[in-house]
Amino acid sequence: MKYAFFLGCLIPARELSYETSVRKVLPALGIELVDMKGTNCCAPFSIQSLDYASWLALAARNLCIAEEMGLDILTLCNDCYESLLMVNTTLKRDPKLKNSVNEILSEVGKEFKGKTDVKHLVDVLYADVGVDKLKNAVKEPLTKLRVATQPGCHLTKPKRLHLGFIKEFGALDELVRATGAETVDYDRREMCCGGPLRDINDELSRSVARQKLMDIKNAGVQGIVTVCPFCFLQFDLGQLEIKRHFKEEYNLPVLHFVELLRIAMGMKLENWETKSHRIPISDIFKGRL
């Protein structure tokens, strides 16, 4: 299994441990990652809000690069995933729109042909690798670890876009359970982390994250597992920001799913990776890091 690896903007800038864990874990599961060259930003919701044609063209340019590589795209971020998936689906379905986007792309020597698919890490792990293979790769199951999963908005909504391979939160929960950990349901699980408003309206972004943390705290879990760098940031760095603004502490360590998997597979984290978590994670792993 070989994928065109789309890293996006946020991870290489702020969440290196997500990147390094992916580069360690995925090859161990038989997935080859081929870095895409010369890609641009996926065009997240802020950019989509400015202009429709710009969004289509920017996202399509990345899709063209993957097409030229002859590979499907693997993303690690819900926003990248949904932006690229939406554009891919729209252009494949609407030849007129495809033609007008290709007219713009011709200026940069690219042509969208509709030959690639867009996948999220959860999608690849669940559908392509499979829960059984994951279970076999787990050497030190994380038994008794109770976590809440944050699937994130753009992995599961709009439902009509994602039906067929991500059923509600079932896929992510199964993946987490494969590591031996226990997933606990909580109120409003599909609610947004507030990420899209970060740096645009920080007060609102924080309030939304705070509501999520309250709901998660009520479920009585030891930590939160995310599959999107925005959700991660909102909950990890977010807890420090919420402490400053609301004087509340939640003490909920946050992990990228792939980190959870990595620990369960017996691959220790580097010191800097452990420290990169603003809410300390060492307690819940008791010397397993």
């Binding site: 800038a13 702020r14 400015l50 710009s54 899209p196 939304v208």
Partner: protein, 162 residues
């Protein structure tokens, strides 16, 4: 209240992603679900649809209203009529942007996109860390192409004028 634009609903419906406004029955399920509507009385997806339908063009396009949205699509998934509220929000923001109503944070992201091909870039300490870890360099990427595309769509001009 300003003069009504009786054609406004049709205009929004004909902008990409705006079609759904024609199907709205004002049931309020979207606003009953919206996480932002619970925090900010100003933001209310149902009311925004209502304002579009009634033709309150400047109230919709020239104020902060459309930019409170999280684009979380909860409203869209719960709408029983296919009103696609979450999508109509994008259509409204596209129109608002054309009126130069864009929050500073979005302008900053767009500028970064035009200049470096990314909306956010690593700070110096991160660049150094990447180097020390042997991770790929993060440099401006696809800038030429991005500039050409955004010139063609006139977004470049719009952002520069802000």
């Amino acid at each position: 209240m300003s003069a009504l634009d009786l054609d406004f609903m049709r205009k929004v419906a004909n902008v990409p992603r705006g079609r759904g406004v024609l199907l709205c029955i004002q049931c309020g399920r979207c606003s009953g679900s919206c996480p932002i509507a619970r925090l900010v009385t100003d933001h209310n997806p149902r009311r925004l649809m209502e304002m579009v339908i009634l033709g309150l063009r400047s109230e919709v396009l020239l104020q902060g209203l459309p930019w409170y949205c999280l684009s979380c699509f909860t409203c869209l998934d719960r709408c029983p009529q296919g009103g696609d509220v979450g999508e109509v929000m994008f259509a409204i923001r596209n129109l608002a942007a054309k009126e130069r109503n864009i929050p500073a944070g979005v302008v900053a992201q767009a500028r970064s996109l035009i200049d470096t091909g990314r909306v956010v870039n690593p700070v110096k300490s991160i660049l150094n860390k990447r180097k020390s870890l042997g991770l790929a360099e993060i440099a401006p990427t696809g800038v030429e192409d991005v500039k050409k595309i955004l010139k063609r769509t006139a977004l470049d001009r719009l952002i520069r004028s802000r």
